[in-house]
């Protein structure tokens, strides 16, 4: 955790400096309205910077043995799942909500539960059909239909 806290404080410091620089480009005062749009973000950036420095000092003074927070296999498993979700978000617009949901559920059930292909397919069809019926048909939500139309 010690190293992670240090890395985190570096990332947050960079973010806060960026926020402060960008805020300075915004008006500090607007005639008739008083406080401009850049004031609050600037002070938010300053606050995060100050807290990041405290976090860095805390982690440098921490005498406890470091704990491993991330490991490769965890990141790999999470990464595959996240990638599947990103592809899903893209395909919803492209191919349509129903078909994309079917494919996503099929993939996830297969990967997580190692069920037979037909079981994964059945669950995919049920989840996508029920959600399309419930949200698009009953609740009239304009879910994307894409080129497939489902």
């Amino acid at each position: 955790m010690k190293k992670i806290n240090l890395y985190m404080s570096i990332v947050l410091s960079a973010l806060s400096v960026f926020v402060m620089v960008e805020s300075k480009k915004m008006p500090a005062e607007i005639a008739g309205l008083g406080m401009g749009p850049g004031v609050l973000p600037f002070w938010l950036g300053a606050g995060i910077l100050l807290l990041s420095i405290i976090l860095a000092v805390e982690s440098l003074l921490d005498k406890r043995s470091p704990k491993k927070v991330f490991n490769i296999s965890e990141i790999k498993n999470m990464g595959i799942m996240f990638l599947a979700l990103v592809l899903y978000a893209i395909s919803v617009d492209l191919f349509g909500f129903g078909i994309s949901t079917l494919l996503l559920v099929f993939f996830l059930v297969r990967r997580l539960g190692k069920y037979a292909w037909w079981k994964c397919g059945t669950i995919g069809v049920i989840v996508s059909s029920v959600s399309v019926y419930l949200f698009r048909v009953l609740l009239e939500m304009p879910l994307p239909t894409g080129i497939v139309g489902f």
Partner: protein, 503 residues
């Protein structure tokens, strides 16, 4: 005529078969809408508003009011069972409710939510019935400086939500503020941190952030180790015991008071009061360290408060036509659609209508309880669905939830982005709750700060010269000081926490 007689007349109207049916329909549909993640009371009322035009005003508003408090209740179900708080008010419920569900106590958690919602909802209705005109006058004393002070009071909760590290909790809170400033400045309309992107200009919707930080990151955290996390033990005791009920009664009563009085103030949403009630219970508890680990008080407090706020919000709505939050704003649209102008004259000109709606809310609360307690067993069984089947469903519903708010694919991207951020935050032990609280408070805090400074031509003195704002700020400072004192008073507990952290 005294309020009691008027209420009795209201009951006479409300118990007509037609009105009873629409109260039931509203409560039922509200519960179902609440259970569907992401579709909160606001979109529920908005979706059904056009459909009610075929009805006369009284049954239509009775149905929409039923839908509103039904949805407020229903939101807790998904928060408890699958850690998807469909609305901000259910975020604190998820903190303890989900832990209870994972321990096999989904039944008592859901029943506690139902009972607490019923008790708080009904008691607040008593307040609404007898004190509406007097209390409505109180809310008019709140100008921008008082709102700013109130938001500062709500922010004092953050200190208690920080978890093991105060610094990390405060960082999370400031990050929440930072997310909130993305988009157009509420006063000047200047685009901040939008980088020319039209979607960014309309700001980051907090529902997508909540769905990402809670639901998506939960699934990402569970799949990383291929753990098939399903509760296999027998589900025992679906209802809380008498001892449990005795234990949560003071919590329910306190949360009712907090929720109702804060609900009188426009802009004070059920989300804020749920957090404040949760924090108050944690402060008053003999075992504050158990909050967040799965205890019934942690469910009773936010659920009671958010339902009390729901009823409290009807006071300024009916008395002045001021909606306390987005859902009531849509309901106000419903009033207007029927030519009913909420305001001081509503109680005189349309007394029959007002009192029938209030009476139907009593009936609706009883209906909600009758409707939901038998369903507890059914919902509780959801925790036994194998995780490989549950996880994809949670993700699909989360994504629909994010999309449903504004109908933008951009919001799906936001939910996924915050899912990843939430996963990292869990790893590095940055708590999500302070971020959410600050995100929801930020806009009203910034607006009231800027308005106050305009009123005082730039000086901060305005917050300390007005009695209500001075009192609120003093209370906030005392609470923060008290929290910090208790935090550092027990260094042995702090070192235990640190040791745990280093394991």
């Amino acid at each position: 005529m005294p309020s009691f007689d008027l209420l009795m007349q209201g009951f006479a109207t409300a118990i007509s078969p037609e009105n009873l049916f629409f109260a039931f329909l509203g409560a039922l549909m509200g519960t179902l809408i609440g259970v569907l993640p992401g579709i909160g009371p606001t979109s529920g009322i908005a979706m059904l508003l056009p459909l009610t035009t075929i009805l006369p005003p009284t049954p239509a508003i009775i149905m929409l009011a039923g839908l509103y408090y039904g949805a407020m209740y229903g939101g807790s179900t998904t928060a408890i069972l699958v850690n998807i708080p469909g609305e901000v008010a259910s975020v604190p419920t998820a903190m303890d409710g989900y832990k209870l569900a994972r321990k096999g106590q989904a039944g008592p958690a859901l029943a506690t939510a139902a009972i607490s919602s019923f008790v708080a909802g009904t008691l607040s209705l008593v307040g609404l019935t007898f004190f509406a005109p007097t209390l409505a006058g109180f809310s008019l004393k709140f100008g921008p400086p008082e709102y700013f002070a109130l938001m500062i009071l709500a922010l004092s909760v953050v200190v208690n939500l920080t978890g093991k590290s105060l610094v990390k909790g405060l960082i999370a809170g400031l990050l929440g503020f930072l997310i909130a400033v993305i988009g157009l400045d509420p006063m000047s309309g200047y685009a901040r941190f939008s980088f020319g992107n039209v979607n960014m200009m309309s700001g980051i919707d907090f529902i997508s952030v909540i769905i990402g930080l809670f639901a998506v990151s939960e699934v990402l955290s569970n799949v990383e180790t291929h753990v098939v996390d399903v509760y296999k033990a027998k589900l025992t005791g679906l209802m809380p015991t008498l001892k449990d009920l005795r234990q949560i009664t003071p919590t329910m009563l306190r949360s009712t008071v907090i929720g109702f009085f804060m609900g009188l103030l426009p802009g004070c949403s059920p989300g804020v009061t749920a957090f404040v009630a949760y924090d108050t219970e944690k402060r008053l508890s003999k075992h504050p360290e158990k909050f967040g680990t799965g205890i019934l008080e942690g469910v009773a407090a936010p659920e009671g408060a958010n339902n009390a706020t729901t009823s409290g919000g009807f006071v300024p709505l009916m008395a002045f036509g001021i909606p306390s939050g987005p859902a009531l704003a849509v309901l106000l649209g419903g009033f207007m659609m029927y030519g009913l102008q909420p305001g001081p004259t509503l109680f005189e000109k349309n007394a029959d209508f007002v009192w029938a709606v209030i009476a139907s809310m009593y009936i609706g609360n009883v209906m909600l309880l009758i409707l939901n307690l038998p369903l507890v067993g059914l919902w509780a069984k959801l925790v036994r669905v194998p995780y490989p089947i549950m996880a994809p469903m949670v993700l699909v519903f989360s994504i629909i939830g994010a999309y449903s708010v504004r109908g933008k694919l951009f919001d799906i991207g936001v939910a996924l982005f915050f899912g990843l951020i939430g996963w990292v935050m869990r790893k590095v032990e940055l708590p999500a709750s302070p971020l959410i609280l600050c995100l929801i408070l930020a806009t009203i805090l910034e607006t009231s700060l800027k308005q106050s400074l305009s009123m005082s031509t730039g000086g901060l003195g305005i917050f300390f010269t007005r009695p209500i704002s001075l009192t609120l700020i003093t209370v906030a400072l005392v609470l923060v000081a008290f929290s910090l004192y208790t935090r550092f008073k027990h260094p042995e507990k702090a070192s235990e926490a640190l040791a745990e952290e280093s394991e």
